[in-house]
Structure formats: structure tokens, C-alpha cells
Amino acid sequence: MKRIAKANLAELLSAMAAEAKLYVPAESDGIVNFVSWQEGLAVELAALNVLVPPKKFFYPQTETVLQYEMGEDLQIEDFACKAGEKAILFAVRPCDVSSFAMMDKVYLEEPPDEAYRRRRENTTVIALGCTEPDEACFCQSFDIDAAKAPGADVLAVDTGEELALVAQTEKGEELISALNGLLSEATSGDENKVKDEQEKIADRYVTSVSLRGIKERLAGMFAADYWERLYKRCIGCGTCTFLCPTCHCFDLQEYAAGNCGERIRCWDACMFADFTQMAGGHNPRPSQKERVRQRFMHKLNYFPQQHGDYACVGCGRCVRKCPVNLDILEVIREAGGGTDGL
């Protein structure tokens, strides 16, 4: 374990920036997002979740898949093989870190998504352990230890005056050794301090849900009236899906201009009316009811069926941001039944 005084954070960051493109959480007009770091930028370490989850670094909201030009012969330029410059994500919260594992199940499964794979490979993730979850945090319910982030290459723990850094992978080791000049060795005292910090969190949650049997229960609820009641206040916006660290549905669009064209991939939201709109006009999910059902079924039943895990990490973004307060907490409670906490 290494440590560095928070006062010297700026040096550490510029050292990292020298290693690779560095992204850190920063505040602008009251909203915290991951942004590319440059000298003098104030890093926001207090905020829990950034607005747009860091999945965007592996799976951007918009990316060029290929460009083509029609002439005597068709010229096609593939962009996937260009993706993935060397990057470092600093201060990713553990819930978001565990969302990466979920995204991997989708995009690294054979055949892997080349662009995604390259970005994953070339990015070093530095997690920042949580100590104080807010009322909308319920990652604990998904057995995520917000103090630790096993999926991260490096774990950073805020011990007040200092940051403790623990390399957890080879990539992590490399980075730490590259930064060694700035870091000092942690004493056993520090290690205990970190332990204390990490233990505090467990009883600081105010919200939790029981997932016991939710998957099975939902399996039988496809035709339930429940959705009829639930969907009515959904306004069909993309807030929940775009802010969800595990939502991963995309659309492919062609931009043709004369003889040239481009194919882009961009995030899509199953809440949008045109998500399943077919060319002929038929829409298998004609109303918001089917769309809302789809989203929660997918997160709590279909995805677990296919991949073993729930497609939710309890980050609480949908709880905080849904304009009509229609969130997964509500569904897990009402459909799943478990309503401890609160």
C-alpha cells in the first residue's frame, strides 16, 4: 500500500497525465462529470456518483463504426481497430467499477466487441472507496462493498489528510510503480486507518432492498396488472437508461452524404417510443407499459438468466434523477416484496 498527501494530489495527477489520458470527476454548474484533466482543474472527490457513468469510456454515447466512399470500388474504413488510446480513470466509485464487469459480460463475450475490448484493455481504473453513502445508495443490496472495488486496477481510500493507494492488478502495479517517486510507503498504522475507514461504511446505509426470489417472481409477472399500474407515470425519457451504468443498448445510424457515408453507434433507450419501431411501422412494444416492463424485466430477470448477475449495481442514479420517481428500488420492493430498511 502506498500513500500520498491530498495536498500533493495535483502532482500525482499531472504525473498520471504524463502516463496516459487522464479523466477525473469535476464539477461544472453544479453537475459532476468525468472530464479530461488539465493543470489547475479542481478534482471533485466528495461527490458520490458522477452524472454520466464511466461506462462511456469503454462504450461512448456516440462512436464512429466505419466510414465508406462509393466510387469505382467501395472504400471502407473500419474505426474499431483505431479505438482505445491509453487512459486512466481516476476516482471511479465502486458501484461503477462493478458495472464494468457487467458490461464486460455483454461486450467481451465471444465474439468480443473490438472497440470496447481495446478501450477496456488500454484503460487503467483507479477506484475511490466510499465512506458515506447517501440515502439513494443501495449497492450493498447487490453485495457490493463500496469501500473496496475488486474490479479496479488501483483502489484509492480517502483517509482524511491522505489518499491510500492499493494496486490490485498488474496494470495497477505498473501505474503505481510509474508514480513511485511521488508516493510514500504506507505504514501498518496507515493500513489500520484504511481498515477502520472501510469498516465504517457497512452501517451507514439507510436504504437497502432484498432481492430474495425477485428473479423467479418476475418470471411469472410478465402478464401481471402490476405493469399497468406502474407505467402510467413514466414519461418515456432516457434519463434512467442513459444514466444507468449497466444499460448497454445501442442503435446504428447511417449518415450518407452523396457518395460518402458514415456508420455510427450511439446509445439508445428502451424507454423511447421508437426503440423497437420497425421499418414497416409495426412496433412490438406499442405502449410505454411494454417498455417499462422490458427495462425492469431485463435488469432483474432476463440479464440474470443469461449472465448470472442482476443488471443493477445500486448506484441510485435513477432514484435521484428520474423526473417522476419511477425507479428500480420501487420495482424491487413491490415486485420482490422485501422492504427492509427505511
Binding site: T64, Y255, I264
Partner: protein
């Protein structure tokens, strides 16, 4: 005022109503009044046919300036079309300027079928102003 951005050849899309401004362009042609070749005309029946979405689209696709030209108020071939145009595009123009788009980028002018000289003059002045401003970067697609 000296033209900066030497060598920069702007692309200017001009939506012209068929009855006045397009006729004005024809008259400028018939009278051999040469004007900036940066201008490309799209013929519409009436300036009230010009949807703000067309204007934004032109900027997105790389136009450096957009002009909407119609009959003088009161002369609209369709009685009232340009009166609606006046309100709509005034609102649009105010908004674009509020968002930090240079006023010269998007212009609206009344040019009658008998104003060939004015047509040429307007095309030149618009082209000059856009040259001075330089390329449109604010509203252009990155693609």
C-alpha cells in the same frame, strides 16, 4: 473594412421565394449583374415555406451563412406568407444570437422581382460579411 480570412470561400445557402426573390435573382442574371459565386439558391414557393429546421440543417452540414429572402411585406404572392416569416424568423434570429451565433451568419431580406440590383448587392454584402467572420464552426457537425 478590409476582408480578413483571405482565401476562405464561404458556402452560403439562400432560400428564395419563387415569386419575388428568385425572380430578383433571375433579373440579376438577365441584367448580367455579377455577384459572389459563394451563394447557392434553394427555390421555395414562399418564404413562409422555410422551416427553421432547414436553416439549422444547412449550418450543420457546413453552410457558413444562410439567407432567407422573400417578397416585401404586403407584396406576398400568397397575401400573408411573409408576415408569418417575419415573426418566425425574427424569433429564430433572436434565439440564435442569444446562443452566441454571430448575427451575420443568418440573415433575412426582402427582395422583390424587380430588384435584380438589390439581389446582387445583398448577395455580395452577405458573402463579404461571412468571409470576414470566417468558417462556421459553432453549428457544424463534427462529422
Amino acid at each position: 473594412m478590409p476582408v480578413t480570412n483571405e482565401g476562405f470561400e464561404p458556402l452560403i445557402v439562400a432560400f428564395c421565394c419563387n415569386w419575388c426573390s428568385y425572380a430578383g435573382a433571375d433579373l440579376a442574371g438577365v441584367s448580367r449583374m455579377s455577384y459572389s459565386s459563394n451563394v447557392r439558391i434553394i427555390r421555395v414557393p414562399c418564404s413562409s415555406r422555410v422551416n427553421p429546421s432547414f436553416i439549422i440543417r444547412a449550418f450543420q452540414r457546413g453552410a457558413d451563412g444562410v439567407l432567407v429572402a422573400g417578397c416585401h411585406p404586403g407584396d406576398c404572392h400568397y397575401h400573408s406568407g411573409n408576415f408569418f416569416t417575419r415573426r418566425r424568423l425574427t424569433v429564430l434570429k433572436q434565439m440564435m444570437e442569444y446562443l452566441g451565433i454571430e448575427p451575420e451568419r443568418f440573415q433575412v431580406r426582402w427582395i422583390s422581382g424587380s430588384e435584380g440590383a438589390k439581389f446582387a448587392m445583398v448577395m455580395n454584402s452577405v458573402a463579404e460579411e461571412i468571409k470576414r467572420l470566417g468558417p462556421n464552426r459553432k453549428l457544424r457537425d463534427v462529422r
